[in-house]
Structure formats: structure tokens, C-alpha cells
């Protein structure tokens, strides 16, 4: 059995923040930021909470399937490093705000920017032991503007706010392939309860390129799939330079690496879900596709999930 996407939704911060915003008070420029990250704009919320964005993305996802029976949702997993509270979990609040059944298994996970990939692997395994036709709502929701040091000229331009949600079920077909790497490290990339995001940019770049390439190659080998047999690599949108390096490492062209970081910035665990929604909405996921999702983040964590012959499942 394999994961099949049923629907997608997203929510973005309402305010579009361009690079001139940072140039107005820091020693930086639009060109400098674009050259180092590929980012031109990012989206920040005004007064919404992370939960508000999670609800909006999930509602968008479910609204696209008006005939879908929500009682089929057996699992809700939200990946986030910027929850509004420690308790209640975002996923628990989704149960109430989306009107889901009480017997849903709902919880949040924190695997930093690898969160959505990890959440999908968990959902895949949970759905295996649930009745046929069960569905999982899997999302990432982040409000990184709340955790950004706006005086750090090396990182403040990277982060945005958003949520990406997908509704998934299991269908007949070849199993999906998963690989993860964990390198416990307390210095490379940290976010404290009261402290903003701190990172050693060069070390993170090195980790991301090296470990994400390894994870991708591992799932390709497990699935016996050549790099150019994958239709789309949906990579965490952290920095275009990282994804370009992965692309070069795999000796592939950019058309297999959809990107929205120029417009949306780095939204941590929400980024892959937002990117997937854009592909879904534009019809690029229609038909049979082989898709590789991969992310890396603090922890340090890294993961890849390869879906061979994926097809959208119309409920």
C-alpha cells in the first residue's frame, strides 16, 4: 500500500515583505539577499496565530473535496516548531475547529524543517493499521517571523509564515520508500523558548547538501529508481543555493525541482506542503508521477520520502 494525495491546501501570511524592508535598517541589499538565498519576498502574518494558519490551510484542503466524509479522517499530524502554546497541540485544536470526530488520533511533532517528511512517514505507518479508506490530515504550520532575530543580517531575511496541508490515504501499489538521518547537535541550528533562531550558516549549508543528498540517494537506491526517473523533487525551501547544490549533485535540471522560495521564503516544516499545494493546484501532480520529498533541519535532522508511481486519489 502506498500514500496517495487526495487534496491540498495552504495558508500564507498576509503581508508581503520585500528585501528593501531589511535594507531600510540593516547593512544589506536586495541583490545581496537574492544572491545568497534566492529570496525576493516572504510572507508575514499580522495578528493571526500559528493555529489560525493551520486551520486555514486545512480548511482550504477540505473545501476542495466538498463530498468528502470527514469521519474518514483517523489521523491528524501537525509539524511545527512555532506552536502558539506547548499544550494544547495544534492538531488537537484542529479537531475542534474542523469539526472532526473525537476518535481521531491527533498530535504534533517537532522535527524542525524535516517535520512534514517525518509526519508523512508516521501517517503512512499509522494508516496501515486502520480501516481501508481511512485518511490522514498531515500539515506543517509555522510562524517563523515570531522567532526571527530581526537584527541578524545573516538570517533575518530567510524566514516566512505559512501552512501547507495535505489529505492522504493509502491505495494499492508499491510501498513508499523512506530514509532519515539524525546527527544530534546543539549548536548548528537552535531555537529556544525565548531565544530566536540561531544558526551557523556555513555548517548548516554543508549538512543540508551532504545529508539531504545522501537521504535522496538512499531512497532512490531502495526504490531502484534513477535520479532522472523522478518527476519532481519537492525539497524543503530553505535556501535556493542549497537546492541548486543538490540539483548539481544529482546532475539534473531545474525543471524537476519546483521552487517557490523566491516568493515565500523559508517556512520550515510548512514549506514542502505549500510547494505541494502549488503543484497540485496547477495540475502538475495529475497522472502517474514519481515524487521525492526531502527536508533537513535543526536537530540536526534530515529525511526523504519517495513515492513511486504516485497518483492523486479522487475520494
Amino acid at each position: 500500500m502506498k500514500l496517495s494525495l487526495m487534496s491540498c491546501g495552504k495558508s500564507l501570511g498576509q503581508r508581503v515583505i520585500d528585501n528593501e524592508h531589511f535594507a531600510s535598517y540593516l547593512d544589506t541589499s536586495d541583490q545581496w539577499i537574492r544572491e545568497r538565498s534566492g529570496i525576493s519576498t516572504r510572507r508575514w502574518v499580522d495578528d493571526e496565530s500559528t493555529v489560525d494558519m493551520a486551520v486555514a490551510a486545512s480548511q482550504d484542503c477540505l473545501d476542495r473535496l466538498p463530498e468528502f466524509d470527514r469521519s474518514r479522517i483517523e489521523v491528524v499530524i501537525c509539524a511545527s516548531v512555532t506552536t502558539d502554546e506547548v499544550v494544547p497541540a495544534i492538531s488537537a485544536q484542529l479537531q475542534e475547529r474542523l469539526g472532526l470526530d473525537k476518535d481521531v488520533l491527533a498530535f504534533d511533532i517537532n522535527a524542525a524543517c524535516s517535520g512534514l517528511v517525518y509526519a508523512l512517514e508516521i501517517a503512512r505507518n499509522l494508516l496501515r493499521v486502520r480501516p481501508a479508506g481511512s485518511a490522514a490530515l498531515v500539515l506543517g504550520a509555522e510562524m517563523l517571523s515570531r522567532k526571527t532575530d530581526m537584527q541578524d543580517r545573516g538570517s533575518c531575511f530567510l524566514f516566512g509564515d505559512g501552512s501547507g496541508a495535505g489529505l492522504w490515504t493509502l491505495t494499492e501499489g508499491e510501498e513508499d520508500y523512506f530514509a532519515a538521518k539524525t546527527v544530534g547537535d546543539t549548536e548548528m541550528l537552535t531555537v529556544g523558548h525565548e531565544e530566536p533562531i540561531r544558526m551557523d550558516g556555513r555548517a548548516v549549508f554543508r549538512f543540508a547538501v551532504s545529508e539531504m543528498s545522501d537521504c535522496i540517494r538512499e531512497v532512490l537506491a531502495k526504490a531502484d529508481v534513477a535520479p532522472d526517473e523522478v518527476d519532481f523533487y519537492l525539497l524543503h525551501q530553505a535556501n535556493q543555493r542549497i537546492n541548486d547544490a543538490i540539483m548539481r549533485d544529482l546532475k539534473l535540471k531545474s525543471e524537476r525541482f519546483p521552487s517557490n522560495i523566491a516568493r515565500i521564503g523559508n517556512t520550515s516544516s510548512a514549506s514542502i506542503g505549500i510547494l505541494m499545494e502549488e503543484l497540485y493546484s496547477s495540475g502538475q501532480l495529475d497522472g502517474t508521477k514519481t515524487i521525492c520529498l526531502a527536508g533537513f533541519g535543526g536537530g540536526m535532522s534530515c529525511g526523504a520520502l519517495l513515492m513511486k508511481g504516485h497518483e492523486i486519489h479522487v475520494a
Partner: protein, 80 residues
Amino acid sequence: MITKDVQKIVAELLAVDLGEVTLNARLIEDLNADSLDAVELAMSLEEHFEVTVEDDEIERMDTVNDIVDTIKKHRPDLEV
């Protein structure tokens, strides 16, 4: 050949003509490299020459010749 291989790696990574990658060419000033290029360059050198390039070595690599010297130090068995 360390020198020729280094020049080829630098030219490919920084997307510049091989002719521009002279031994005296400065990575930042002449070849437009930045700090992330330097990290990626170090990773490419590590893979190609099977060495480990430390962060402080990356910081000291100002010119193409500095890169050649770094590799020479790690791989004295290779022809320059």
C-alpha cells in the same frame, strides 16, 4: 594533476571560463565567489581529492593557488 583539477572544479562551480581561473585569481574579488560558494567548493574538493577540508582552511583560501596548496598539504602523493 592537482592544479588542473582544482581549476576545473572552480570554473564549473563558479560558472566562469576556465581561462579566468589562473593561479593568482582571487576567489571573491576576481571570480565573484561568496561564503556559500566557498563551502560548496570545499565539499567538491573533498569529494574529488578524498580529503577533509576544515573550516579554517576554507577561510584561508583567498586565491586559486591557496586551494592548490591546501590540497597539496593533504595529498602529497599527487602530482601538482
